[in-house]
Amino acid sequence: MEIPDGPTFKSSRSRDAITFELAGRWTIGASAALEDGARAVFAEASKVRRAVLDLGAVAALDTAGAWLIDKTRRELAAAGVEARLERVRPEYGILLEEAHYRQFEAPSGKRRLYAAVLLADIGESVVSFGKDVLAGVSFLGEVVASLLGTIIAPLRFRAISLVFHIEQIGFRSVPIIGLINFLVGCIVAQQGIFQLQRFGASTFAVDLIGILVLRELGVLLTSIMIAGRSGSAVTAEIGSMKMREEIDALKVMGLRPVEVLIVPRILALVISLPLLTFIADMAALFGGLLVAWGYGGINPAAFMARLQSAIGENTFLVGIIKAPFMALVIGIIASMEGLAVAGSAESLGRRVTASVVKSIFMVIVLDGFFAVFFAGIRY
């Protein structure tokens, strides 16, 4: 029963009255033609005193058509035209009743000055950053308190969970951490040799690799990688548990979520990150050695000798000391973001993104503070 006809009407005038015989399909499928039809009826009818809308030949009517017909009738009435519907089939009558025209108030969205909104946004984000820092410190306190609690009552310590997370966060990251640091070692060596060649100082590339990798690059790359790989996983795990009320379930069972979920993860991060940093350092140095040998003509024995004179124990320690702090920052941010997840999946997605961005940002800021600190104590 496909009737392709759009909404049509025929008008006939008699003295001061006009009769519109509506026909065809007055349904939403007609799209713009529906609105045009109603507008044409209104335009023609507004010139006379009385109008009759005859629905006898309407083939199909839906809520959209009923709405427009009723709206036209009322608008005509408002314009002083006596409008009337005729030959309305009972089912259309119900429709017209149900979808009768009513004025919908436009939502009163107060328009504010753009500059004011901008300033307010900036202010808001500054305040929220301050709150984040405060919340972070208080969360750190909670984690430390919980850790101390497990020292007093070691039976509450969750060793299995800790080992599991060390495997997830530490062990399973070894290949990717080794690989990217190996590649970065290669690149630094190649660039170092290439640039220093011009001054006839290509052997200093070994100093460059040794100091740069051990002090900064190894720990920084590892932290950034772990923030992206494990920080996001921690946020997602804790966040989805929060979403499904699993955290609340833990609470009502008398367990402490911080102790059960967060301490093992943060501890696993703090243990894993220095180990991974060590692997990263070795991988990068190995990459540097290979490139120095193949590209710079520095044989491994010369490389090692040069490296020994360039770096000391302190060079290595500067990098490694930073690692647990980086881990702590990543763990705290990831857990807090996870716990901040609200009921919806979008909120989980947003929190995971925020977790990664904030941890990487804080890792780099922290690295800056360490650089100033170590320069200050001349280490």
């Binding site: 809520t63 709405w67 089912e91 979008e346």
Partner: protein
């Protein structure tokens, strides 16, 4: 179109069919979920579709909607064989159907009003004002507060999400509406309201309603016919009296169980 078998449509062969499914087989891997299923849905009726968990109610619905592939069989919607229909025919048929998913499936980054307008914007050319008015009209039809128009789905309660989802399903004034467990997760008052809403809309808009449900209240309140699914087939279909008389163990347990007993007086 009038070949309705006696088993699924006792004495109603003359009425227009909205959906006709014959010998449908759907499976995943080695397991067949739907095994040779026949089903008819007549125009203008409310068909309740019941079945135990995991018997393939959702799979059948999704197959009719074209979201799952069938192994064999024939599905006709509005008398058109979906296998033979061209892409344009499919688009035309889909515009005549509205679907309300169980969890609402409202687009989470759009407001309720924008959600309702998605199909309008996609398929029609309407002036913004008319589109707004229509969206508000749909909200009024499903009994939602007009304040909800500019809210995001995350800000709505469960019942409001169901209503908003129904409003979106009705956006293009479809002839056939699929409802997937419309009253699940609603409190009894909300569920009863929703039943009444569906009945009212069905009467005023002349809808055909295909409703997957577990809710005995809904079945007794608004369904013209009920089809029961078990073992991958429709094992009984017809008015509630037919199902009450069925001696299939599952149907018997469903309609004569402790939860169903309070309806015995009604009969």
């Amino acid at each position: 179109m009038h070949e309705a078998s006696a088993a699924t449509a006792p004495g109603r062969g003359g009425r227009d069919l909205a959906i006709s499914v014959r010998d449908l087989v759907v499976g995943f891997g080695d397991t067949l979920v739907v095994r040779g299923l026949d089903l008819d849905v007549y125009r203008g009726e409310v068909l309740g579709f019941v079945g135990g968990s995991g018997t393939g109610k959702s799979v059948l619905t999704r197959t009719i909607l074209g979201l799952e592939r069938k192994r064999s069989g024939r599905i006709e919607v509005f008398g058109e064989d979906l296998d033979k229909a061209s892409a344009a025919d499919h688009a035309r048929i889909e515009r005549r159907m509205g679907v309300m998913f169980q969890q609402g499936a409202l687009f989470s980054n759009l407001t309720v009003k924008q959600n309702i307008q998605v199909p309008m914007r996609e398929h029609l050319r309407l002036s913004p004002r008319f589109a707004d008015e229509l969206a508000m009209l749909k909200l009024a039809l499903v009994g939602l507060d007009l304040d909800a128009a500019d809210k995001l789905p995350a800000q709505l309660s469960g019942g409001m999400i169901k209503r908003a989802a129904l409003a979106r399903a009705l956006a293009l004034d479809p002839e056939l509406v699929f409802l997937d467990e419309p009253t699940s997760g609603l409190d009894p008052i909300g569920a009863a309201d929703f039943d009444e809403l569906i009945a009212t809309l069905q009467k005023t808009l002349g809808l055909t309603v295909f409703m997957v449900t577990h809710d005995l209240d809904s079945i007794y309140a608004i369904c013209d016919r009920v089809a029961a699914l078990a073992e991958g087939k429709v094992i009984a279909a017809g008015p509630i009296s037919t199902l009450l008389a069925s001696d299939h163990p599952w149907v018997h347990a469903y309609f004569h169980g402790t939860r169903a007993r309070r309806f015995q007086d009604v009969q």
